[in-house]
Symmetry: C2
Subunit: 328 residues, 2 copies
C-alpha cells in the first residue's frame, strides 16, 4: 500500500491519524498544505515527510528566490527531528533556484525523491532479508513500513522480502504510545499483507524477551549520526537496552536520506509535542486535565546497542563511524 497518490497533477495523502478505523485522503496543493500535514501528523515517517515536503515546495505559487526560500524555511520547521525533511526541501530548493524552468524542475525533483525512496526501501529489504531466518519472531516499534515511506518501508522491508521468498515470519508490533503508530498503522498494513502480527502494549517488551519469545528487533530511524547514534521514535532506546540484556539482535533500517554526517548529538533538537497527545486518546480523556506531561517524540540510542544497520547501500557492522562514512 502507498500512503501517497500522485497522478502527475494532484497529490493526495492518506490521513494516518484516522487509521485503522477510517481511510480518508487529503489533497496537498501548496507548501502550506504540506506544512500542516507534516506538523499535525496527517502523514509521518521520516522518508514520507521528506517526500511530502518536497512536493509541498514544488507547489509554491512563485519561484522568485526570496519567496521560495521563505517557503522552504517554513517547511523545514514543520517538524524538527527527522533529517529527511530538511534534506528533501533543500534538494528541491537548490534545483528550483538553479533552473530556468523552476516549476517543472522542482516538481521533477520531488518525483525523483519519491521514486528514489521507493527504490531505497526495496533495496533495504533485499539487503536485510538474509538476516531473517525462517520462523523468526521479529519485534518492531512504531511504524517504519509502507505508511512511513513508499511501498516496502524501512524496518518492515526485510520482512516483506523474506515473506516474498517464502520465509515464515511472525511480527510483534508495539503499540507505541502516545500516537500509537504500532497499534494503528503497523498492524493495519501487515494484516493487509497477510502477515502473522501480534500487538503488545509498550509495557510488554521486557517480559516478552524474558520469555524468549523474540528473535530479532528491527526499527527505523529519523536521523542517524556518523558515529552511529540513532534518533528514532520514543521508546526505541529502552527496547535496545532490553534487546542487549537478552542477547536479541537489534537492527536499525534506514535509507541514506536519513543519514546526517554534518551535525551531532549535541545539536539535534528532540521534538516535544503537546500534552494533549498523552491526556486524550481519540477525544476521550484518560488523565487529569491539569497534569504535567513530558512528551518527547523521539529518543537516542547509542551505537553500542545496535547490532547492525540495514541501509540501501548494504549492511553496516561496527566499527560504525568508519563503516557508515565509507558506505554513505
Amino acid at each position: 500500500m502507498r500512503p501517497v497518490k500522485w497522478d502527475g497533477k494532484e497529490l493526495w495523502v492518506l490521513d494516518q491519524r484516522l487509521l485503522p478505523t477510517r481511510e480518508k485522503w487529503v489533497k496537498i496543493s501548496s507548501p502550506e498544505d504540506a506544512f500542516k500535514a507534516i506538523r499535525d501528523m496527517v502523514i509521518r515517517g521520516a522518508p514520507l515527510i521528506g517526500v511530502v515536503a518536497a512536493f509541498g515546495l514544488a507547489f509554491s505559487d512563485s519561484f522568485e528566490k526570496d519567496r521560495v526560500k521563505e517557503k522552504a524555511e517554513m517547511l523545514k520547521k514543520a517538524r524538527p527531528t527527522a533529517i529527511n525533511l530538511a534534506w528533501a526541501v533543500d534538494r528541491v530548493y537548490r534545483r528550483a533556484v538553479s533552473s530556468k524552468n523552476p516549476k517543472v524542475d522542482a516538481l521533477r525533483e520531488a518525483e525523483k525523491i519519491m521514486e528514489e525512496e521507493e527504490r531505497r526501501a526495496r533495496t533495504i529489504g533485499e539487503y536485510g532479508e538474509p538476516l531473517i531466518e525462517n520462523g523468526d519472531v521479529v519485534l518492531t516499534h512504531c511504524n517504519a513500513g509502507s505508511l512511513a515511506t513508499i511501498e516496502y518501508g524501512t524496518a518492515l522491508a526485510p520482512l516483506r522480502v523474506a515473506k516474498e521468498k517464502g520465509k515464515i515470519v511472525k511480527v510483534i508490533a508495539t503499540e507505541t504510545r502516545p500516537v500509537m503508530q504500532g497499534a494503528r498503522l503497523t498492524t493495519y498494513e501487515l494484516l493487509k499483507d497477510g502477515f502473522d502480527v501480534t500487538l503488545i502494549s509498550d509495557t510488554v517488551v521486557g517480559y516478552l524477551m524474558y520469555l524468549r519469545k523474540v528473535n530479532k528487533v528491527i526499527v527505523g530511524a529519523d536521523r542517524v549520526f556518523r558515529d552511529g547514534h540513532v534518533v528514532n521514535k520514543i521508546g526505541t532506546y529502552q527496547i535496545a537496552v532490553l534487546a542487549k540484556r537478552h542477547g536479541v539482535p537489534f537492527y536499525v533500517a534506514f535509507p541514506s536520506s536519513t543519514f546526517d554526517p554534518h551535525t551531532n548529538l549535541k545539536n539535534v533538537e528532540i521534538e516535544e509535542r503537546s500534552p494533549l497527545e498523552v491526556i486524550y486518546i481519540r477525544g476521550r480523556r484518560i488523565a487529569p486535565k491539569n497534569v504535567k506531561v513530558f512528551n518527547p517524540a523521539f529518543d537516542i540510542t547509542p551505537p553500542e546497542l545496535v547490532t547492525a544497520f540495514i541501509t540501501d547501500k548494504g549492511l553496516i557492522y561496527p566499527p560504525f563511524e568508519k563503516n557508515l562514512t565509507k558506505l554513505l
Copy 2:
C-alpha cells in the same frame, strides 16, 4: 482518599475504571458482587483486592461449611496472580468455620484485615521515608497508592510520609498501558494530595533515565517470593532493567500480606487478560479488530534488579532469601 467506604453495615467501593473523569460508587453486598468487582477491575491493587474479597466472603448468605467453602473458592478465582486475594479469603474462611457466630466473626475478620492493611501502608511509608531525599524525582509504575490499598498506599506511602515531613518530592507516573492505572489513578490521587506529578507514556522511561531525570524508582508488588522474585504490573521488569543500567535505585514496596513463602516462580499463574483491553480505549478502537494480542497483566522482576524491599516490617536488603524469610 479511601477507595472503600464501610459504615459497619454497607460496603461501597469507588469504580476505578471510570477515574479520573467520573467518581461512581458501587455497593458490594455479596460474594458474587465482590467477585465481579475484582474480576472486572472495578477495584484493583493487591491489598485492596484482599480487603474487598474478605468482605465479600463475610457477606455470604450462609456459613454452612460446604457453602462458604464454595464461595471462598469462587472468590479466589476472580484474579489469579495477587497473593493477597487467597490470603485474605483464607483468613475469613478459617475464622468463619471455626466460629460459633460465623456471620459476626467473619465480618470482624474482614474489618481487621482492612485495618491491618491501612496500618501496614502507613508503616511502609515510615520505613521507606528515609530513602527519599529532599528534591528527589521518583518514578513509579501503575498505581500502588491509596487506590490500591487503604490511605497511604504501598509504593506511594514513603512519598506521602516524606512530604508530611517537609521534603520536596517530584513524582513521575508512567501511563501503564493497557489499563492506564498510572495516567488515570496515580496522577489523580497525587494531584489531590498536592504532589508535583508528571505523566509520561510507557515509552519514555528509558529516555528519561538517559537524561538523568530520575533519582529513584518505587513500585508495588502483587506477589513476592522468598527468593526475592517480584510479580508486579506488566512493565515493571523493563523499568527495573533500565534502572539497573542507569544506576537508579529500584525499590519494591509491599505489605507482608503480599509475601508468598510457599510457592515459587514455576507455580505462579501470570494472568492474561482480554485483547479488548488493548484494542479499545474508552470505547474507541485503536487497532484492527482482528489483530492478535498478547496481554499479560503482570511480569516478573528478578531479585538482582531490586535494590531493597520496603515492607511494614522494615527495609530488606540482599541477601534477599535470608533477609525476607527472617523478617516476614
